[in-house]
């Protein structure tokens, strides 16, 4: 029974060590913001932060992240996250919205590391997050706008 730090709280997860973090979050901890898409770390829907690093939770065993600090869309806070989320709403980025949790977690990590990303930086950081509604142009625009607001 691994103990995980989830959104600032220490939680004992009653599950085998080889359970993917995604299912521990969704089915055990009841945090459904991270989504299931492909189950093979190819689509980015399940992206969470593990010690601040965007990570595909569907291919991360909970036994391997015991003692790490995990942040999900439900718990992401701070100036960067709040700016990204407010810009996301102001620019109506989501359509179906199913993958936006993952997009936002990747965008927050990018802007935390690279406050003024170029288009190439954005493409590099976001290429693992699919959007079947093809909102990519708004995602890129929203990241630039968030960077502009964060710089101000």
């Amino acid at each position: 029974m691994p103990t995980l730090g989830i959104n600032g709280q220490s939680r004992d997860i009653d599950a085998p060590d080889d359970m993917p973090l995604l299912w521990a979050l969704r089915d055990i901890a009841g945090l459904t913001g991270a989504k299931f898409g492909c189950g093979q770390a190819l689509c980015g829907a399940c992206t969470v932060h593990v010690d601040g690093v965007p990570t595909r939770s569907c291919q991360t065993f909970i036994g391997d992240v015991a003692g790490s600090e995990i942040t999900t869309i439900e718990g992401v806070t701070g100036r960067v996250a709040e700016t990204v989320q407010s810009v996301w709403v102001a620019m109506d980025v989501p359509q179906c919205g199913y993958f936006q949790s993952g997009q936002i977690m990747s965008a927050v990590a990018l802007l935390s590391e690279t406050p003024k990303p170029t288009d190439d930086d954005i493409d590099g950081a976001m290429s693992g997050n699919l959007c079947r509604c093809a909102t990519y142009h708004r995602i890129r625009g929203a990241i630039h706008e968030a960077a502009r607001q964060l710089e101000a």
């Binding site: 913001g33 299931f36 179906c96 919205g97 199913y98 079947r132």
Partner: protein, 437 residues
């Protein structure tokens, strides 16, 4: 460019024709899903004779001053709820911040797709706004007139002296009242036979940016509820083992190894394959890998892609082909063309690849009603098929129309595939628990 537009028009015609053909066929086969059996979804009005009451079928206003629009059109991300909200708000005069939109079903006269004849409720072929354009503006206008009539009666003033704006009715001397305060009385007013609609010059919402999508915030903070997020007390999660060929059936299976996995509760056969029922998704996925299934392919489709494509080529070469559009004399024009370009387009069997996996949740209740949460793109058909699978009458099937993570047409299928899987699995475990597939 013109050719492109015409191709699109032709393609659209084909889509509508084929879907209509299918639905009429299904109605004949099923003996009447399209003729209005009594339905009881959570948010719908039973079809009743006479005019449709907009304050029952389309717009619910409650005493707490909330306005809920009942959308006939399914929202898979394309924003049909938002589009319909703008149509209603333009005429109704409610505030966006007091307004929600939910999916509705179970009333074909009210929700039948008006752009396709109104014979059945469905979202597809890019018809949602075409179907809704008159219907929801008229509903908003009629509801506003009924609110005004209720206020006029309560205040004993002429209706013409009452103005409506920002979710309130106002009279120069009688005062002001919220929509919520007048909702109950308004619902009992005479239903207007014909309401005058605003002209384009007076629109303040349709086609403008002021009213924004209501779901952007919940789709940005992880709280937007998708079917995959539905959690019910005691709910079990199932994954399906589908046959390797369409149409194959389960002859038998060995679930010994799967049942030894902690969390796996049951392994059951369904008409669409074997379901591994577990306490959580991970146990179910592990169990799925541990089951061996003996498939009976007697009735299965055995042709491969190349053979099917050859069949299509053969059919396409045969005359006469179906004509999608006739405009002008193309044969004469082609005979004098300076240059002709010929092309053959072949499309492979495509995955729609909606990002939220196909899913559904089924729960049999103690009172004999069956609730199903899913992206119900063709709700009346699904209600009927679900009732057949459950062995109950359609009026006992309650559909919760969920907004979904994409659709791209894949949630509108004639065999209601994932709905059948959820209901059949729940039934196979003796209705002992709600089941999410």
């Amino acid at each position: 460019m013109l050719h492109h537009i015409m191709s699109r028009a032709a393609a659209k015609t084909n889509v509508r024709t084929s879907r209509r053909g299918f639905l009429i066929g299904a109605a004949v086969v099923s003996g009447g899903f399209a003729v209005g059996f009594r339905a009881a979804p959570a948010f719908a009005q039973d079809p009743v004779p006479g005019p449709i009451n907009p304050l029952a079928a389309y717009i619910h206003i409650t005493a707490d001053d909330r306005v809920t629009i009942l959308s006939s059109q399914f929202d898979m991300g394309q924003g049909s709820y938002h589009g319909i909200m703008t149509l209603v708000l333009e005429e109704l005069g409610a505030r966006p911040d007091q307004t929600d939109v939910i999916g509705a079903c179970g009333n074909i006269p009210a929700y039948g797709n008006a752009a396709a004849g109104g014979f059945a409720q469905f979202s597809g072929g890019s018809t949602s706004m075409a179907s809704s354009w008159d219907r929801y503006r008229l509903a908003g206008a009629a509801a506003r007139e009924m609110l005004v009539a209720a206020a006029a009666e309560a205040w004993s003033v002429p209706a013409a002296e009452i103005t409506v704006a920002n979710g309130a009715l106002t009279h120069p001397t009688a005062g002001t009242a919220s929509f919520g305060a007048l909702a109950e009385a308004a619902a009992g007013m005479a239903i207007p036979e014909a309401s005058a609609l605003k002209t384009e010059a007076d629109w303040t919402i349709i086609g403008k940016d002021e009213v924004r999508r209501a779901d952007s915030a919940s789709k940005t903070d992880g709280t937007h509820p998708f079917t995959i997020d539905v959690a019910l007390p005691g709910m079990l999660t199932a994954t399906m083992i589908h046959p390797p060929r369409f149409g194959a059936t389960v002859r038998g299976f060995d679930a010994t190894a799967a049942l030894a996995i902690p969390g796996v509760r049951d392994v059951v056969a369904t008409p669409r394959g074997v379901a591994v029922v577990a306490e959580n998704m991970w146990a179910s996925l592990q169990g799925r890998d541990a089951v061996t299934v003996d498939w009976d392919e007697t009735t299965a489709e055995t042709r491969g892609t190349a053979e099917i494509m050859a069949l299509y080529r053969d059919l396409a070469a045969k005359s006469p082909a179906a004509t999608a559009l006739v405009e002008g004399d193309s044969a004469a024009a082609m005979s004098t063309a300076v240059r002709t370009v010929e092309a053959t387009y072949e499309f492979p069997y495509l995955a729609h690849a909606a990002m939220e996996p196909l899913n559904a949740v089924a729960r049999m209740n103690a009172d004999g009603t069956l609730e199903i949460w899913a992206g119900h793109q063709m709700p009346d058909l699904y209600q009927f098929i679900a009732s057949e699978v459950a062995g109950i009458t359609p009026d006992k099937v309650i559909l919760h129309v969920m907004k979904t993570g994409g659709g791209f047409g894949r949630r509108g299928v004639g065999d209601a595939d994932v709905i059948v899987e959820a209901v059949a699995t729940a039934r196979a475990v003796g209705w002992s628990a709600p089941v999410k597939v």
